[in-house]
Amino acid sequence: MTTLLNVENLVKNFGGLTAVSDVDMHLNDDELVALIGPNGAGKTTLFNLLTGVIVPSSGSITFRGTDGVIPLNGMKTYKIANLGMGRTFQNIRLFKELTVLDNVLIAMTAHYKENFIQSVFRFPKFYRTEAQIRKEAIELLKIFDLQDDVDKLAKNLPYGIQRRLEIVRSLAMKPKILFLDEPAAGMNPEETADLTRLIRQVQRDFHITVLLIEHDMSLVMNLASRIYVLDHGSLLAEGTPTEIQQNDAVIKAYLGEEA
């Protein structure tokens, strides 16, 4: 197993507030890692740092791409995404007014080319490319049981399906690492169980590394092979689910000190 993403001494200050301080972490090939912590611990900030939405104050993030190790600090979000980092959002960010199919096609933008003249004057080549990527998108949607919703607008889907579509959309980017930000938020136990199966299936069939933020401990303990615990912006603990469950510092952070 080799390290895919490596984070060293990562710091992010917002004015006087240190949202993330001195975080070291790493993600290996093909593993499922969870990031947990109380509200306001800086989990989403850390996600945004890793995916390039915000720029770190100091520290380094490196990614092992196809041609060597690449530093990601200060790189543009879309470039980081195209290196192979897909993500979902805590508050769903689908393209609401567009169809399910378009949502997936948009995520595939970097994976095919269309010449302006050819697409504007509808050359046969254009139709061939379109047919090809549409087929790919629909196949992907089929895997996740969304084939009947292809022409529906994303905003008209039920909440649980929107969450699922967001995962499918990020998979369409053919990512090496998938970042899931609270995928089970607002779901009932049944939907959470579905989601757990879905994430396991994704990780198994697509051979990708998954980093997930989650408050639902049943999901985390079921899925994760390693867990990072974040509190007040710094790493509190790292280990397997059993280790974390027995860690005193973690219990203290979640439940408070024993009287």
Partner: protein, 319 residues
């Protein structure tokens, strides 16, 4: 592929039929020179509104500088065909106008498209004013008094063809990789970026394409009306185009066609009312905005594909 061919042939038939209908009406004498003028004005407004709709409705960038790019095309054509009044020079001048407008749009767009919403609107408005003031102060453009006796090459068939070509280009762009990327930018910039889309590039692409079609409209106007002045391209012109887009429906190309036609007809019908005309015009706008705030068409489009599939569904339900 076969299905696509079917829809494309439908559109082609519609375009050719429109042409011959117009031709027949002129031959019969139903359309006199006054009405022909109205139709051409409507055509030019369609080109402008469709281009602006791409920028505002599809890429989600609020631009108020459309008239500036129109001025670039108009003056390119006016200057070139005043010197060499041949049909070849006229078509070459359209291309020159488009190229200059593209360069201008890049210069304007690269710094301003980083802004959002109202800031972008003000910046593009300022850019259009700069273009107008430059034209106002150049010798080659004959300054504020404008240019007269420009040879007329842009007859109604030419304008009609240009409406078809620019609309085809824009609609086809929207339904391609680039158009989808622009739609993603409109829907959610952060999500689009996280999906690997270079949002700045696609904003700029839509803006530049919009500007290029505006230049074509400018060329048509200069050569059809045969006289232009810098004041034809002030902020009021940009707003007039914006009104068409909003009235027809932001994000509906069909809507831009409908709104440009309705406003053109209303405008011509009220010609004899003098000053009262603007009052009635404003009243019509207010009423539509009250009863249909999303515009006449909302974001719906005329689509042969949907027409056919609806028909098939009905047949399927019966059998």
């Amino acid at each position: 592929m076969k299905a696509n061919l079917k829809y494309n042939i439908c559109w082609l038939i519609l375009m050719v039929a429109g042409f011959y209908l117009m031709n027949a009406l002129i031959l019969v004498g139903v359309i006199d020179s006054f009405l022909e003028n109205m139709v051409v004005t409507i055509g030019i407004n369609i080109i402008l509104a469709v281009g602006l709709n791409l920028v505002i409705g599809f890429a989600g960038q609020f631009s108020l500088g459309h008239a500036g790019f129109m001025a670039v095309g108009a003056y390119a054509t006016a200057i070139i065909i005043s010197k060499t009044p041949t049909a070849g020079a006229f078509y070459a001048s359209i291309i020159v106008g488009v190229v200059v407008a593209i360069i201008a749009a890049l210069i304007v767009g690269i710094p301003t498209l980083r802004l959002r919403g109202d800031y972008l609107a003000i910046a593009t408005m300022g850019a259009a004013e700069i273009i107008r003031i430059i034209i106002n102060n150049l010798k080659i453009t004959n300054g504020p008094s404008g240019m007269f006796n420009i040879p007329q090459f842009a007859t109604w068939p030419v304008v009609y063809t240009m409406v078809c070509i620019t609309t085809i280009i824009i609609v086809n762009f929207i339904h391609s990789r680039g158009g989808r990327a622009a739609l993603a930018v409109r829907e959610d910039e952060i999500a689009a970026e996280s999906m690997g889309i270079n949002i700045f590039k696609w904003k700029l692409a839509a803006f530049v394409l919009g500007a290029a079609t505006a230049a074509v409209a400018g060329s048509m106007q200069a050569s059809y009306l045969q006289t232009i002045a810098p004041n034809n391209f002030n902020i009021m012109e940009s707003i007039a185009i914006l009104i068409i887009v909003v009235l027809g429906g932001v994000g509906s190309i069909t809507g831009s066609f409908v709104a440009a036609t309705i406003l053109g007809v209303v405008d011509a019908a009220l010609q004899s009312f003098g000053a009262l005309r603007m009052v009635i015009y404003a009243l019509v706008l207010i009423l539509i905005m009250i009863f249909k705030p999303s515009g006449i068409m909302g974001s719906r489009e005329l689509s042969f594909k949907r027409l056919f599939s609806r028909k098939n569904k009905k047949v399927g339900a019966k059998s």
